[in-house]
């Protein structure tokens, strides 16, 4: 039982981070119909900026327990970079999807050099932050409290995002724009502002994900590309444009990976893509996606 819980928590921690990035990807596609390959860059940006923010907070005398709120705030703040990036994307909204893919892929590569310029080529870590909250022991299990806090933070963000989209007026406008842009514009919705807001929120989900993961791992130039591949596996499994799909896909990927590592470590990557292939064959739109005409 302890072993099972340990593996389960490992998988859910990975899923929690994946969900944030995939949710950003889904939100942007759902509303703007843009497949944003640069989502991995936002994740990496959050990680790098999180390190800088925690360093500044530490130098300013902030106590160790403030690491998590500082990281979340840092992620939200740097997520505002989504606004100028969205301005660039406007040039290709009405063009063929391949232009969007090329542009966002170009951004992904350019961001790598931005990280190199500001933070250098060497992987960066937050050494003490991971252990700032100690460890939690229950049912014979010992887990870093930080992992549990990240899982809780991801759940809170998922709930808040769901409530925002479903229960608020702005959420309804966003969903209406996603359903039919021309009709919503006809009813007086300023779709340009909606797009800017949605893209920025999508970007913030990625930057917060990156900021949250960095105490447990490290920031590196490659992390953007590595994550983007996994995030797309989540999206394919969950269904493009679906927030529920992002949640289900992230959990499936996280748990399957954790189980494979336990049972057959060589199949860590293979197991994820077997599921992707199975979904593509049996349910091409994904578990929660809508079939496109």
């Amino acid at each position: 039982m302890t072993v099972f819980l340990d593996v389960l928590l490992g998988g859910v921690f990975h899923a929690a981070i994946l969900f944030l990035v995939a949710a950003g990807l889904q939100l942007v596609f759902g509303v703007q119909k843009v497949i944003n390959l640069a989502c991995g860059s936002f994740y990496a940006l959050g990680a790098y900026f999180g390190i800088t923010a925690v360093g500044l907070a530490s130098a300013a005398g902030f106590p160790a327990w403030t690491v998590l709120p500082v990281l979340i705030l840092a992620g939200l703040a740097i997520g505002l970079v989504g606004l100028p990036v969205e301005r660039i994307l406007r040039t290709v909204y009405r063009r063929d999807e391949s232009y969007q893919l090329l542009l966002t892929f170009g951004l992904l590569l350019m961001f790598q050099d931005v990280f190199r310029f500001f933070w250098g080529a060497t992987p960066r870590t937050l050494d003490n932050a991971y252990l700032a909250y100690g460890t939690a022991e229950f049912m014979g299990l010992r887990v870093p409290t930080y992992n549990l806090l990240v899982i809780a933070a991801s759940i809170a963000i998922a709930v808040a995002l769901g409530a925002f989209l479903q229960k608020t007026r702005t959420g309804r406008i966003i969903r209406a724009t996603a359903e039919n842009r021309d009709m919503s514009e006809g009813l007086g919705v300023n779709s340009s502002r909606v797009f800017a807001a949605v893209f920025t929120v999508g970007c913030m989900l990625g930057t917060v994900g990156g900021a949250l993961v960095v105490p447990a791992s490290a920031s590196s130039l490659e992390m953007a590309v590595e994550l983007v591949v996994e995030a797309f596996a989540v999206v394919v499994i969950g269904g493009l444009g679906s927030m529920r799909g992002a949640l289900a896909g992230a959990l499936i990927v996280g748990l399957i990976r954790a189980a494979a590592i336990m049972v057959l470590p060589e199949a860590e990557i293979l197991s994820i893509y077997l599921v992707v292939i199975a979904v593509l064959i049996l349910r091409p739109a994904g578990l929660f996606g809508k079939a496109m005409a």
Partner: protein, 424 residues
């Protein structure tokens, strides 16, 4: 960036020439143009840290050698290029040789890249001295008779040494072993070598877990959970990139290392990232060919470490030693050949001369074998956190020479492991 760096290096070369003390070489040689050394080293990615360390060391060596007359009276000028993928690095190697017309190319850390570049060096008849790259296909030497390519020590040396020290320090306490090693031939061969050496030493063990994260995996929580579930009493890990500190941090937080002994043969590569907060003590900790805090270190090492730590506020890894060794070997080879011929030697004369020279490198003595594979001095020992740094040092320092840890020319590694006279 490269242009300004080259300009800087030219400056260093010129300054060195101006400051050069009168040497043993004739004015005809001393007045010649600079010796151009091409450097290929990673500056980003998983190996960026160590590549940068090697570059800093070769720059330090260049400055020092130039102040002392350069190479046979000619100042050294570095032309630095980045080591990335095999394809791109081959293109840069050709550029260095054909366009920049360097006298020698040094560097390369990845064996995957080295395997691609080495045949090109043979084809171009260009001298290549590798820092950490080998031409091993797994554990098998792919270029036993290279003419122009000098290789580093075999990749498995540190694993062999860590295995021997594990037996020395923990025999009787190793019953249930687990491995977490990078998922490519280096990791797999090291893990296999560890098991073979235990077997040969009569240590009967049960392998309770084997983990193979791909290089660069930064979320290892599930790997840690799997290792914990297996309840090992000894963990062997030859992880050596940025993923090693992540593993140690996540493992420590999850209580993985309580009551468990560890061997980390390549940990020294990430020394500055392995913070005491998450590093247990008494790890068999590998520093390869440079232990920065070596007691009774040579004046050369002391001078280097002091300069390096003063300037960069961190400890140098063994890549610094490899970079210094490559340049020092070239210098020694050229100068011996120049002395013998009374003129600047031909490339073939330099190549013949290099293996005959005993080199004092940063980490200790070393020499190239006749088959152009390096033999250097290796350092490992048990770690301690009782020091003034924020990372572990060694409380016991063991040192072996590569001839004790490395298969002789033309011999199968696995056969050698079964039959060789091992030092422990």
């Amino acid at each position: 960036m490269n242009i300004s760096r080259r300009t800087l290096m030219r400056g260093i070369g010129a300054a060195g020439l101006a400051a050069a003390a009168p040497g043993i070489f004739s004015p005809a040689i001393a007045q010649s143009k600079p010796v151009r050394i091409g450097i290929l080293a990673p500056r980003s990615g998983a190996m960026g840290t160590v590549g940068e360390c090697g570059i800093r060391a070769v720059q330090w060596a260049t400055e020092r050698m130039n102040k002392d007359g350069g190479i046979a009276g000619r100042p050294i000028e570095l032309v630095i290029e980045e080591e990335t993928s095999p394809k791109d690095t081959i293109e840069r190697f050709r550029r260095l040789v054909l366009q920049e017309k360097v006298d020698c190319v040094q560097g390369l850390i990845s064996t995957g890249v080295s395997l691609g570049v080495a045949p090109v060096a043979e084809e171009e008849q260009a001298l290549l001295i590798m820092w950490d790259g080998t031409t091993q296909d797994g554990v098998k030497e792919a270029m036993p008779k290279s003419q122009y390519v000098f290789r580093s020590t075999d990749n498995e040396c540190e694993a062999v040494m860590a295995s021997l020290l594990s037996i020395k320090y923990f025999k009787g306490k190793i019953k249930r072993i687990a491995g977490i090693n990078p998922d490519y031939s280096y990791g797999r061969n090291n893990w296999e070598a560890f098991q073979q050496i235990l077997k040969r030493a009569g240590v009967e063990v049960e392998v309770v877990a084997e983990q193979w994260p791909k290089v660069g995996t930064m979320d290892l929580t599930s790997h840690v959970a799997a290792l914990k579930a297996a309840k090992p009493d000894f963990i062997f890990s030859s992880m050596l990139f940025a993923d090693l500190p992540v593993f140690m941090k996540q493992g420590s937080a999850a209580g993985l290392f309580e009551g468990v002994n560890l061997a980390l043969p390549a940990a020294g590569w990430q020394i500055n990232q392995l913070k005491k907060e998450f590093m247990p003590e008494n790890i068999v900790f590998g520093h390869n060919t440079l232990y920065f805090a070596l007691p009774n270190a040579s004046p050369l090492q002391k001078a280097f470490v002091e300069d390096y730590m003063g300037r960069y506020k961190e400890a140098p890894s063994w890549e610094a030693d490899r970079a210094y060794f490559a340049l020092a070997a070239y210098k020694a080879g050229v100068e011996a050949a120049a002395k013998a011929t009374g003129r600047w030697p031909k490339l073939t004369e330099i190549i013949e001369s290099i293996p005959k020279q005993k080199i004092e490198s940063l980490g200790g003595p070393g020499q190239f074998r006749a088959d152009k594979i390096a033999e250097q001095t290796f350092y490992q020992g048990l770690s301690t956190n009782q020091n003034s740094y924020d990372f572990p040092t060694l409380k016991t320092v063991d040192s072996f020479t590569a001839d004790q840890l490395q298969k002789p020319p033309g011999v199968d590694f696995w056969e050698w492991l079964k039959t060789s006279k091992l030092p422990v």
